[in-house]
Point group: C2
Chain length 298, copies 2
């Protein structure tokens, strides 16, 4: 999953004193403006300068060979989500887009509100598997993606945004290569965050991207070491904030989307997600409100 | 409205031969990748380089005094939309976000799908009025916004994206100033597009942002000259593509959101919208697939 935060047990990863604060200090620092919706904020030009530099820095470590990500819209076909079983695993987090069905094609005529077969994107790497669906991948395929995610989160502390942006590197390949690539990213991801001046620890985590039929698999995710999170120490004595993750999906996506790797059966996949707002928030917490005094990282 | 395309009668503004083509030539030019959802595409790094340059060029002509836009999420509180009466005027275009209601707060327990009181943003400048709601504005207030819009469009020809990005300058002020500012933008907007190398004509247009109770007002929008569109000639003998607009809202938003201007009653507002994908598409159509050969504009 492109999930840069775990869907399960994420409370712990946000249990910093800062997270319990209001947004006041971030507003005072000219970083963001709260909006009316729960977990929704507007970002200032100053905040976006950080996001822009961050994207540039991430592009420099991209393994895709392309100078920048594929930019994905915040919505996608519901059929793609259903094929990934996300709607079964996380019905409470998924934003389903409903629209008024037009009667007789006439504008302005009220009809019934119904699912538009469109959903808010929950996980950025879901944009890729439909592109490869029902195909044979002959060599390791690298992708660099960026886009908005939406999670219908129940809480709204700082960092727990309902709408947030993720940069995501994805590999679709064979089993050994997917594991090796993910394991290498545990190291190089930590190095990347260190270069940004962040104190990050790598922690095993779980997010149940297996469907309900796979509860046993889900429970064993920790044991299988499928997911590691990069957790930033915010220097407040709290347990830190998850700002990114490195994930093995095994052949889950390959099986669901009919993607095969050579003659080896269902393709394996792995991804490394960067939570852009959360990394920016960790940088702000670490380096302060005066952007001019920050160490250069891009 | 930040609407960069008119909601009513937009068919005409897209009646170019190119618009009837498939996306094939844009895919071949490495500009975009079609996705499964209707009217949804992914944008390549090459396309995004154009969008990025475009945003830089627009920042240079921003009247807000801030070096870059406020970045808005693709979703917002439904209450804000309802206050603007958009849900009444355009129920068929509005994307309402539904989510599973959790029973007893337990994760993974299926409940009923219900409106989350969140909607996909239909018009970027709607982010601003709630910020000013029930307040008195003492001097002309300039804003520079960027964000995603969603319209549940019935057709999906090239340029008719369901999810698209808009850069939007907004002024909240007195009546005379709002009109003058909008009228000046008709000139300076046309000059801006000419600098990009686009052949643009300014055309009176209508979009019914008045509610159903204001059908007469709506009908007279053309006569009142509230909306002008910048229509790019795509050189194909067609009627061109609307890539931006300059709009007077009169005191519609001020009245709905309880925004007053000094002691003059409900504030007036105006906005100038830049349809980022459509401008990029017009640039591609005009300057071709080789980005290195394009005239510099940022």
């Amino acid at each position: 999953m492109a999930a840069h935060m775990s869907e399960r047990g994420p409370g712990a990863a946000l249990a910093s004193r800062w997270a319990d604060d209001s947004y006041d200090s971030l507003v005072a620092g000219d970083w963001l403006v709260p909006a009316n919706g729960r977990g929704l904020v507007l970002f200032t030009a100053k905040f976006e300068l950080v996001v822009s530099r961050l994207n540039t820095a991430i592009t420099e470590i991209s393994p895709s060979g392309v100078a920048g990500p594929l930019w994905c819209p915040p919505v996608m076909a519901r059929s793609d989500i259903e094929r990934a079983d996300y709607d079964q695993a996380f019905p409470h987090l998924l934003g389903d887009v409903n629209a008024m069905v037009q009667e007789g094609g006439r504008e302005g005529v009220a009809g019934d509100s119904a699912s538009s077969r469109t959903v808010l994107v929950p996980v950025v790497c879901y944009h890729i598997y439909p592109q490869l669906a029902d195909r044979v991948v002959e060599r390791p395929a690298h992708f660099d993606l960026a886009g908005h995610c939406y999670r219908h989160e129940a809480t709204t502390e700082v960092g727990r945004l309902r709408s947030f942006r993720v940069r995501d590197f994805v590999l679709v390949a064979g089993e050994a290569e997917a594991w090796r690539w993910r394991d290498e990213w545990i190291t190089s991801g930590a190095e990347f965050y260190a270069r940004l001046g962040l104190k990050v620890s790598v922690q095993p985590a779980s997010d149940p991207f297996f469907g309900p039929a796979d509860r046993l698999s889900r429970r064993s995710q920790l044991e299988q070491q499928l997911k590691y999170e990069f957790v930033a120490d915010l220097g407040d004595g709290g347990t830190g904030m998850a700002i990114g993750s490195a994930n093995c999906h095994k052949d889950h996506q390959g099986s669901r989307f009919g993607i095969r790797y050579r003659d080896e059966g269902a393709a394996h996949s792995a991804c490394v997600g960067f939570g852009l707002e959360r990394i920016a928030l960790a940088l702000i917490r670490t380096h302060g409100d005066d952007l001019a005094s920050w160490p250069a990282f891009a």
